[in-house]
Assembly symmetry: C2
Homo-oligomer: 283 residues x 2
Amino acid sequence: MAQVIRDVAEMQATAAQIRASGQRIGVVPTMGFLHEGHLSLIRLARQHSDVVITTIFVNPAQFGPSEDFNRYPRDLDRDKDLAFDAGSNYVFAPDTGAMYPDGYTTYVNVERMTTSLEGKSRPGHFRGVATIVAKLFNITRPHCAVFGQKDAQQVIVVRQMVRDLNFDIEIIVAPTVRERDGLAMSSRNSYLTLAQRKEATVLYRSLAMAEDGIRSGERESKQIVRKMTDLIASSSGIIDYISVADGTTLDEVKVCEPGRPILISLAVRFGATRLIDNIALTV
Amino acid sequence: MAQVIRDVAEMQATAAQIRASGQRIGVVPTMGFLHEGHLSLIRLARQHSDVVITTIFVNPAQFGPSEDFNRYPRDLDRDKDLAFDAGSNYVFAPDTGAMYPDGYTTYVNVERMTTSLEGKSRPGHFRGVATIVAKLFNITRPHCAVFGQKDAQQVIVVRQMVRDLNFDIEIIVAPTVRERDGLAMSSRNSYLTLAQRKEATVLYRSLAMAEDGIRSGERESKQIVRKMTDLIASSSGIIDYISVADGTTLDEVKVCEPGRPILISLAVRFGATRLIDNIALTV
């Protein structure tokens, strides 16, 4: 009862059978090269469903032309064993041509909240994300889907799409899994040199400092961003953005008012490797 | 067992129950003000499914700012009786605010084939169509959906979206229903004055002439369009477009080659009223 499916029609028929049998389906969409963060999503999906489908697909539509689609790490053999060990019943790993056949022309756009942060730095990224998630939802027909808080804006975009397009799917968000030194787990960490790997902890350290600052009474976003910027400047990391935004709309906030959900997020480059991280909190 | 549902969540729960009971759902998406054309779609859906859901929703997203959204004819009381008499089990008639709540931002775009013909004359129209159809599919969860050949480009766009986004739904196309004098049935015919109504037969007469011409050996699109243009010039109708296109891709064709599916379509204005019609044929 652990099976890799590569064919779209077979996955769709299998999902329909599972549904017809009255079982609850949980899906975990991933781009593979699984780490402990992904496995935590699979375990969470396990708790919320009878049958877990992990999808593994490096989605070209969410990479920009100058981004790392071609060198993005892939290892299906290892991934499937990890996914099954973590409790996944199926691994769905389609070919690119099966997902985007010749003459493919349909895209899902979530407007507004996709133009800031990751969407600003990576134009078209969330069009690709929303499109592939809509496709995977229609193929795997889940009752619930699990995403990681690590990709905070992705969570917000997927929630908006699910609400707007009336997908009858519960979105479950799993906390970010970190290395012992605080670095958020990411398949892209494998790109880092040993020296970069050590410096990369500055993302989490700056977020922890911001959280401490807010706990100590800091409310001005400008001050929070300035302190984070100073800390990161002590590393070789190049800041792409640091943002203090509303946790629901992603509108930037000037003052962290009590009761308002806040998302502090950042993207930093080490050489050619771009890392992101975030914390969500309510003052 | 004939019921009007206005609430999105209730429709979704009802559809889920029908599916769980093993019955096949057919949906007929309409903008209401039902005529014999719509009723033929409902009867066809009846033949292909156990439970028919007719949706009635005048979709603002598919109207341009200067179009007839506000004056589009509406009569739900009459519509529901007609739909039930034709064999519909449910009429789903949501409010605009339920379908596009505050903060709505997600749209489905089918690219390329939506930039010609109706898409060219009505920018954004097919974005609105694809979006509402995706929403209605997710709410009514049909096994099959019936659309009319009258809106030929809409059929092609919906088929493309269903294929691209992996909706597991069979698209069934019903032939255009015509008045005795050949005018394609349309809710917009109700806008016509008596004099315009008489002249409006020129759309179908020009299409029938084109078909006759092709049957007699005509292959040049230019000649076909010229003759149709001449005929329509004898009326007060203002031509928006006349097109001879590939029946699958909607690319314009210069020569109607044997074996190739052809769509001849046109849009003509009588006063403020814009009418469309088409014939599909293979030489």
